[in-house]
């Protein structure tokens, strides 16, 4: 069927902020969908609250609304735009849930909006576990025996019938949030309570456990004519019991034979048909019993997903793009395969390499939480790697993680020494982020594959491959570097060993290994991801490197000069989609300037790893060795290292030393900014103020700094991102324990100790510099005071509480700094303002996390400008608008915290970044814009009821005005005794509530009874455990909003007041 002409305008709902379980894969899918639909002539309206996305660039859609993804706000967009159709399955669970809610609210019917791509009934059949189970029985497929429960008692009853262990899965939650495996009654009650609370329908599925079975996923597409194809099969290395988002996964499926795999294919296609997926992509998950092949259907997602993004990157088949085209009436046979351009999209990719995905975790950020992996996803990012064998891909993936591994261990960074036999066995048996390393070590210690299999149920095939790797380690160590000839060196590289591992194994330096390898002529070949295993010629340049004998490479020359852009690697807390965004913009800008752009990255969730984004894509780890391999082949005129966050910055020096031309800001300038002493002397020379600070390498040095500078101190290791290991210390005792910990995080680098400016206002400045001129793109004012990591703090553009004179002073200071540091490209400066005094906290000579937000808030594409400057253009030629112009609106960015995923960790903001993503709110006043960010994060702020207030002594003075406003807004106030005293002194009536240690009824009981609308609780110090921690955790698990800083509380109260003035309007970026 040709495309539909009866629809002209299509609404796409994005997935909102990056949260655990829903990351930038939906930016990738949504961006593809927007591009595909627009190129077919449709007008695309987009709603997404996440500013750090390519999809919310004003050029991606025709009408872009950075607005909350709520029924109210999307309804307003529909009212204003009157789209003909809604494509709901590009925005993950968030988009899908919103579409369902819009349908139920009658909005779609009222405005005549047709849902395309899937219908609401099929979404329900796919998502509602009981409907799904019945549907599967209809077509003769087995599902795990289960029952639906709405109360803890019902859960108990079902579990008794099924027998333990059982899996609990709450309905309609993201990434299985609130679910888990219960081995006994206590587990069950615990998980059931959580799950029921988190499920919007208070519904939990209690299911027979298939723990230890193989977990297989099929990525399937179907068109409206009924044609169905399987794009990719994915086998989880971690068997059932670990969420697939937390599992190491491998494509294609490795251990099923043709009969078994084709059976799953038939099942998958039949499931799509039965569930009623009209067209588009779906993900179907199966459990396969390793002992008899029995198959149980686990679930299906009738939408693009994290797995579909992975499958797209793994095969070269762009699922989201195809799904978008199918939704407007095309059939698979009518769409061309992008890569071959001579065969249709109606086929099943054949791949001739192995793909491994490894999740990346952030447990170190959430002390106190258990790092056991369960059916509830906890990973914050992932890497994908491509190799000619599983072994090669697995080792590449491990080094792509950037967690200090050069492969599967054997790199001198493993530390199993202090681990007892018993503990070691426990670590092998228990799925955790490090389990794979324990499994490898166990095989290294001579454990049999059977013994490891019994403990882990990881398929013996994977274990045998890992055993081959450790066997080879022994051979390599025995031969030594001199004993490796061209054949054995090639064999080592074919197993994925990095030069760093070979160096460790042979007791040599990495450089020496590389040099010897060069002499032996052992270099990787360029291979191509082409969807068809070489059967047809590929027209795109999507590459990976693999070691093959014979040296046949698929590299092709180009006439245009090439620029290599190093992107940001896996998403992690502190380095996420924002940097990928900058790299994508650089690719666009440089392509427009006539360069051949070459992207290097290993994150499958991103837009940068779409083969459409740059002229050439290398899916490779961002290590020196792998990056150099690309550079040596591509011979670029320049390499961009300042847009991908800390990852490429960390490579800059070595690359430059190896003779690589660095484009833009040079490593020397990077070093100047990152070296505290040199930077301090620069500031002294320029007479720019900064908080008294010093560095220390030992505890004694640190103590003497403390005496000189005074407490409190902001302490952090050098060369880390996202405030990793950062803290505020108030006394000697804190300082000593901090120093001991810090030397672990970053052993070779000193610790910075800065005087901590309490109650100062923090500013973030993003600016461009061409070495002659500096343009300050945006001055952002933080809502939370100094001491809260800038990534976790809300911020506003333009500054809402600073004088023009002060902002101009900040701009001027930025200019002087940028020029003195010889920045060519982007820079970010953080300031603290106290008593009209401006202090420089730090300068980052690279793109910052706030660049996408600043670009959207100001309408100036900073990353694109930076790329143009790096390639030689001058700021005066860029046609930039005046810096201090009045825009007539406020843009607010608010951070999104992953608290609910990490029960047990303290829920407070501090100097170490913990947020996973961000949302943006845009409106004519600051309070309205801030209110939008609260809605976008789905914080439910009841408009009446009781507010609980408990603040630390520091904040007692400022609490009264906030409390008074709340009273005036009609809230009743509850407070702890100390706070109540302050309030009463100010003449504000409030009720005293017992603290937890004072017995019942206390604040926990009130929360449980639903009597608290929200909390204002400012903890003192950095490690206050006890009552406050318990209370905040309880609030998180009950979804009760809270402010943990006074400045946050003020903003919240203003936002509530703004909402009282009437509904908020929606604004399209194109109209600003």
């Amino acid at each position: 069927m040709p495309k539909r002409t009866d629809i002209k305008k299509i609404l796409i709902i994005g997935s909102g902020p990056i949260v655990i379980g829903q990351a930038c894969e939906f930016d990738y899918s949504g961006t593809q969908a927007c591009k595909a639909l627009r190129s077919e002539g449709y007008e695309v309206v987009l709603v997404n609250s996440n500013p750090a996305t390519i999809m919310t660039d004003p050029e991606t859609a025709d009408r872009t609304y950075i607005e909350p993804i709520t029924v109210e706000s999307v309804t307003k967009v529909i009212e204003k735009e009157r789209p003909d159709a809604l494509l709901p399955n590009m925005g993950g669970q968030t988009g899908l849930n919103c579409a369902v809610a819009l349908g139920k609210a009658g909005v779609l019917e009222k405005y005549g909006v047709e849902v395309i791509g899937c219908d609401v009934d099929s979404i329900e059949t796919g998502e509602d576990r009981e409907l799904f189970a019945n549907a599967m029985r209809d077509i003769g497929l087995e599902v795990a025996k289960s029952g639906i429960a709405h109360t803890v008692e019902e859960c108990e009853k079902i579990a008794d019938e099924l027998g333990y262990p059982v899996v609990l899965r709450p309905a309609f939650t993201l990434g299985g949030a609130g679910g888990g495996m219960a081995y006994d009654h206590d587990d069950l009650v615990h998980i059931a309570e959580q799950g029921l609370a988190l499920s919007p329908e208070s519904e939990v599925l209690v299911e027979q456990s298939v723990e230890g079975w193989k977990e297989i996923e099929m990525e399937v597409m179907r068109d409206s004519a009924g044609n169905g194809v399987v794009i990719c099969s994915i086998e989880n290395l971690d068997p059932m019991g670990v969420h697939t988002g937390d599992s190491i996964t491998v494509a294609p499926c490795q251990t099923l034979n043709d009969f078994e795999l084709q059976r799953l294919r038939d099942y998958s296609l039949a499931i799509l048909e039965r569930v009623g997926v009209a067209c588009g992509g779906s993900n179907v998950q199966f459990a396969v019993n390793p002992d008899d092949g029995r198959v149980i259907v686990i679930e299906m997602n009738p939408r693009v997903s994290r797995s579909s993004a992975l499958a797209s990157k793994a095969t070269g088949f762009p699922i989201a793009k195809m799904a978008a085209l199918l939704s407007v009436g095309y059939t698979l046979d009518e769409i061309e395969n992008d890569i071959t351009r001579e065969t249709p999209a109606c086929f099943e990719p054949s791949i001739d390499y192995c793909v491994v995905k490894v999740p990346r975790f952030a447990f170190e950020k959430f002390k106190g939480t258990d790092d056991t992996l369960t059916t509830r996803m906890k990973a914050v990012g992932e890497v994908m790697s491509i190799g000619a064998t599983f072994e090669e891909a697995m080792q590449k993936a491990m080094r792509s993680l950037e967690q200090g591994h050069a492969g599967l261990g054997a790199d001198g960074n493993d530390d199993f020494d202090g681990v007892s036999e018993e503990e070691f066995e426990h670590r092998v048996a228990t799925p955790t982020p490090d389990r794979i390393l324990y499994v490898t070590e166990a095989l290294r210690r001579g454990w049999t594959v059977e013994r490891v299999f019994d403990l882990t149920k990881i398929d013996r095939w994977f274990l045998n491959r890992i055993k081959d790797i450790v066997t080879a380690e022994g051979v390599i160590a025995e031969k030594g570097l001199a004993g490796l000839d061209a054949d054995t060196m090639m064999a080592a590289k074919q197993l994925g060993f990095s030069d760093a591992q070979l160096a460790h194994l042979t007791g040599q330096r990495e450089d020496t290994v590389r040099a010897v390898r060069e002499v032996l002529g052992v270099r990787p070949c360029i291979k191509t991801v082409d969807t068809c295993a070489g059967e047809f010629a590929a027209r795109t340049s999507y590459h990976y490197l693999a070691y093959e004998k014979g040296g046949v490479t698929e590299f092709h020359e180009a006439e245009k000069p090439r620029v290599v852009i190093l992107s940001a690697g896996p998403n992690r807390i502190g380095q996420g989609i924002e940097f990928d965004y900058c790299c994508v913009h650089a690719a666009y800008a440089l392509a427009a300037k006539g360069y051949e752009t070459v992207m290097v990255n290993c994150n499958p969730e991103t837009v940068s790893t779409d083969y459409d984004t740059s002229d050439r894509l290398y899916f490779e780890p961002l290590t020196f060795e792998d990056v150099m391999n690309v550079i040596e082949v591509e011979k670029p005129v320049g390499v961009i290292v300042t847009l991908g966050g800390q990852t490429p910055i960390n490579l800059a020096k070595r690359l430059k030393a190896a003779g690589v031309p660095i484009m833009g800001t040079q490593p020397e300038a990077i070093d100047l900014a990152e070296d505290r002493d040199r930077f301090a002397s620069l500031l002294d020379r320029l007479e720019i103020a900064y908080p008294p600070s010093s560095t220390a390498e030992t505890v004694d040095e640190a103590k003497s700094v403390a005496r000189r500078v005074g407490y409190p101190l902001l302490v952090r290791p050098s060369y880390v991102l996202g405030g990793r290991g950062m803290g505020i210390v108030y006394d000697d005792e804190d300082l000593v324990s901090y120093m001991e910990e810090a030397t672990k995080v970053s052993p070779d680098h000193p610790v910075y100790l800065d005087a901590f400016l309490e109650d100062a206002i923090e500013l973030d400045v993003d600016a461009l510099c061409d070495t002659e001129e500096c343009y300050v793109g945006a001055v952002l004012e933080h809502i939370e005071e100094c001491g809260i990591h800038s990534g976790d703090s809300a911020c506003c553009f333009p500054p809402f509480s600073l004088s023009d004179r002060l902002v101009e002073k900040v701009r001027e200071t930025t200019r002087r700094l940028a020029l003195s540091c010889h920045i060519r490209g982007l820079l970010n400066v953080q300031y603290a303002v106290r008593d009209e005094q401006v202090f420089v906290i730090e300068l980052n000579p690279r793109a910052s996390r706030t660049v996408p937000f600043s670009s959207k808030a100001t309408g100036v594409p900073l990353a694109k400008c930076a790329a143009r400057i790096m390639s030689g253009e001058k700021i005066c030629d860029l046609g930039l608008p005046p810096e201090g112009r009045d825009l007539g609106y406020y843009a607010v960015k608010e951070a999104v915290m992953p608290w609910s995923r990490f029960p047990g960790a303290d829920v407070t903001l501090g100097p170490e970044m913990k947020s996973t993503g961000e949302v943006m709110g845009l409106d004519v006043t600051f309070p309205k814009a801030y209110a939008k960010t609260r809605e976008a994060i789905e914080y439910d702020v009841p408009q009446s009821g009781s507010v609980f207030i408990s603040v630390c002594d520091r904040d007692k003075r400022s609490v009264a005005p906030v409390a008074l406003s709340l009273r005036n807004l009609g809230y009743d106030l509850l407070a702890t005794r100390g706070t109540a005293k302050t309030l009463r002194a100010a003449g504000i009536p409030c009720e005293v509530v017992k603290t937890i240690s004072e017995g019942s009824p206390n604040v926990l009981d009130l929360m449980a009874d639903g009597k608290i609308s929200f909390l204002i609780n400012t903890p003192k110090g950095h490690s206050s455990r006890g009552d406050g921690t318990k209370m905040r955790s309880e609030a998180v698990s009950r979804g009760i909003d809270m402010a943990t800083t006074m400045s946050g509380a003020v903003a919240l109260v203003q936002a509530i007041a703004a909402l009282r003035e009437g509904p908020l309007s929606v604004y399209a970026l194109q109209d600003l």
């Binding site: 251990t255 099923l256 034979n257 043709d258 296609l269 390499y353 000619a388 045998n464 070489g534």
Partner: protein, 422 residues
């Protein structure tokens, strides 16, 4: 197995091609030397079915998926016995398989069956060389490790078309595959000409209620007609169809007398009997992901394929415009996607057997994949509806044959989704 793990247990081997290319690797099956035509197969699983497919007689098969042998060898997926392929090329061979059905490792199985195999070859580079150079003569040797010498000997080796491989692989004695119950329908009796028939075909026919008498390739048609079967089936098989004139004669003797069905080589001999020409494709179709449209339903099925030869549709005869959407001339470039795009199943007039309709088209390259005789009960397919290995989309072909034998009209317009019943 990686060289560092192998530790000298397997001897060096050499693969040489007619165009002078060569690849060093290690033995991963039987040691020795083998000559054949080199082809590649892009199926990611199903190596057991591939190596046991008699159609590969005379061919050295390159598997494009790099790690082979992962799930071992089982007892139920054999497609022929013994193995007939000339040799096997893989990137990495697995000696430690894992699957509950596995009874033997793949390399041991190859060695026991005397199949010469080589691993540690850049199979992607080799595949691209075959794609660009076409199916070539080649050799694998563990005894002659001199590239120059082996290439020279490859050049001197006979071409695949020179030999009748069907005679090598066909059963010597006829045998019977019992039929299963099919919804209470009376059992149908099919005689199958075994030109190298995959066991999967017999099983699929049996599953739709056919009792199959498998006869040697050169069985005279009179003997078959004497058995008075409900239908005759012509199987897949190796090599050039031109090398088996007796089978074409048998087709002629059967066509019009009783229902006839053919697969792969069977399709080629049926086409030849109807007067069509056969062409050799540059590098053939070997894999499990070829999209084929059934023009009668407009549905696309993902098919398993294994052939280097195929009929030329225009050579069947002139178009019958009134049955071909008003089109009177065959598309000049022979690209039959002209018809799939128009969703028209064109009909031609043959000299001997009346009208023939094009029913299936390969969407990758526009070659014919299936035909149906309108004036006599017969149809055939170039691809493998039995799969084994590959997707099960096309198993309806066997139901179609049963329907044809039961005298139903419109027997071939079956939606692929009907096959997905569990």
């Amino acid at each position: 197995m990686n060289l560092l793990v192998d530790d000298g247990r397997h001897p060096k081997a050499l693969l040489a091609l007619e165009n002078g290319m060569h690849f060093f690797g290690r033995s991963a099956g039987a040691e020795g030397e083998t000559f054949g035509e080199i082809v590649f197969n892009t199926s990611m699983v199903g190596y057991q079915e591939i190596v046991s497919d008699p159609s590969y007689a005379g061919q050295i098969v390159t598997l494009t998926y790099p790690q082979i042998g992962n799930y071992g060898i089982n007892e139920k997926d054999m497609q022929g016995d013994p193995l007939h392929l000339a040799g096997l090329v893989v990137h990495d061979m697995c000696y430690t398989p894992s699957n509950w059905q596995s009874v033997e490792s793949f390399p041991n199985f190859l060695a026991q069956n005397g199949v010469v195999a080589i691993e540690d070859v850049d199979t992607r580079a080799l595949t691209i060389a075959i794609r660009e150079g076409g199916a070539m003569r080649a050799a694998i040797s563990t005894t002659d490790l001199d590239p120059e010498s082996l290439v020279a000997r490859v050049k001197a080796s006979p071409a695949i078309a020179d030999h009748n491989y069907v005679a090598d692989v066909s059963t010597k004695e006829s045998y019977v595959v019992p039929g299963q119950d099919s919804d209470g329908q009376p059992r149908l009796h099919v005689v199958a000409y075994d030109c190298g028939e995959k066991k999967g075909i017999g099983k699929r026919l049996s599953a739709v209620g056919c009792e199959v008498t498998v006869v040697p390739w050169d069985t005279p048609a009179e003997k078959v007609l004497e058995m008075n079967p409900d239908g005759v089936f012509f199987s897949n098989g190796p090599g050039d169809p031109v090398s088996v004139p007796p089978v074409v004669d048998a087709v002629r003797a059967c066509l019009g007398k009783l229902p006839v069905f053919g697969i792969c080589l069977g399709n080629q001999v049926i086409s030849m009997a109807a007067g069509a020409q056969i062409e050799k494709l540059p590098y053939g179709h070997h894999g499990g992901n070829e999209p084929v449209m059934n023009l009668l339903t407009g549905k696309v099925e993902i098919t398993a394929q294994n052939h280097n030869y195929g009929p030329v549709f225009s050579s069947f005869g002139p178009l019958v415009p009134e049955l071909s959407g008003g089109v009177a001339e065959h598309p000049a470039d022979e690209d039959l996607r002209f018809w799939s795009r128009a969703h028209v199943a064109p009909v031609v007039q043959t000299k001997a057997y009346g009208r023939v309709r094009l029913t299936h088209v390969n969407l990758n390259d526009g070659t014919p994949e299936g035909i149906q005789f309108l004036d006599i009960p017969a149809f055939s397919m170039q691809y493998h509806p039995e799969a084994k290995p590959g997707p099960n989309d096309s198993t309806y072909a066997f139901s179609a044959f049963a329907k044809l034998m039961r005298g139903e009209d419109d027997y071939l317009a079956i939606d692929v989704r009907e096959g997905r019943r569990f």
